[in-house]
Subunit: 197 residues, 2 copies
């Protein structure tokens, strides 16, 4: 088959997958996992039931795939912000804020949807999550090492330990009510990273 | 009955309860929840099986009670440290360090015991945990407000938000390998709390 045809098939597969993931997550968040069936997902997504079963064996598998896609999208967002050209300190601050806002949006979403908290509880930490946490730690560690080399971050604590500090401190954004509060959290977290006077 | 006799009975009840909690938690951490029975717990704790059933209906109930006792003991430790007379900044630093070390010890314990992680996973966040989190937040908020009034902590961010920051930042101690690393984490977290220059 010519390459173009392969691309078309791949794009079609991706579109079917995406429709299944979006529909499943929205149905579970709105009605609870117990009431959502493969047939409903197929119907709402505009796919045949048999086709859906070719992609996923059950609702749980769709939700897992949705969760992986969310994690990958969040990570890609942080990488894109990191790669915008700027001074190390500015890049660090932008990534810290983006990470805080991801946490805030996520918790907000759990509150807004009737079964949002249930959906979150269904998504168990698995290997994909553990690997993503490692990549995240590595991304923060490198940013902090660059900023330390530029003299913008304290040099008396290993960048790996500072990365652990940042990743934990910023999850606090999940409990904060506004973007302004998330920005204050980033300012406080950043102040902890500065060279002691 | 005279008061002394009531005290004796109460002390006896407490001793039976404590023996059951300690034994159940140790057995589950060593052998896994699936293999631990009420009979084993009674035997190892030196209590009759029928007596144990008068206190707890099943192993899960004993583990829940054990978890509550752990949480209360941790909170009591922080309150005791808070109540030692000292300047607000010193009290704040001591409580931050104690909280970080509690997290570190807990995660360490999960790693040391063959089924320590399983035990931790069995202990679901419940109402008792949620209430304890609120009390913890209140304790930190008050310490931070005192230190802010004394000029030792930044006044540009609400003590409640700073408390949320501290509680999250310090959980990072769970991933740090040594007491020295936990102390560095406390130093970094405290630096975030200082009045910006």
């Amino acid at each position: 088959m010519p390459k173009l045809w392969n691309d078309t098939i791949e794009a079609h597969r991706q579109a079917v997958r995406d429709a299944a993931l979006n529909t499943a997550a929205a149905l579970v968040a709105a009605h609870g996992a117990a009431s959502v069936t493969m047939s409903q997902i197929a119907e709402k997504a505009g796919i045949g039931r048999a086709t859906l079963y070719k992609y996923f064996p059950h609702v749980g598998a769709i939700l897992s795939a949705w969760h992986e896609r969310q994690i990958d999208a969040h990570f890609a967002r942080l990488v894109a912000i990191r790669d915008e050209p700027a001074e190390p300190e500015v890049r660090l601050e932008r990534v810290l804020l983006a990470y805080a806002l991801i946490h805030q949006e996520r918790v907000q979403h759990h509150h807004d949807e009737p079964y949002g908290a249930e959906l979150a509880a269904l998504l168990h930490p698995d290997e994909h999550v553990a690997r993503a946490q490692q990549h995240l730690h590595e991304l923060f560690r490198e940013l902090l090492a660059d900023a330390a080399a530029a003299g913008d971050v304290r040099g008396d604590v290993d960048p790996a330990e500072l990365a652990t500090y940042c990743l934990h401190a910023l999850t606090a954004a999940g409990g904060l009510p506004s973007k302004a509060a998330a920005e204050r959290l980033v300012a406080v977290t950043l102040a902890g990273l500065r060279q002691p006077g």
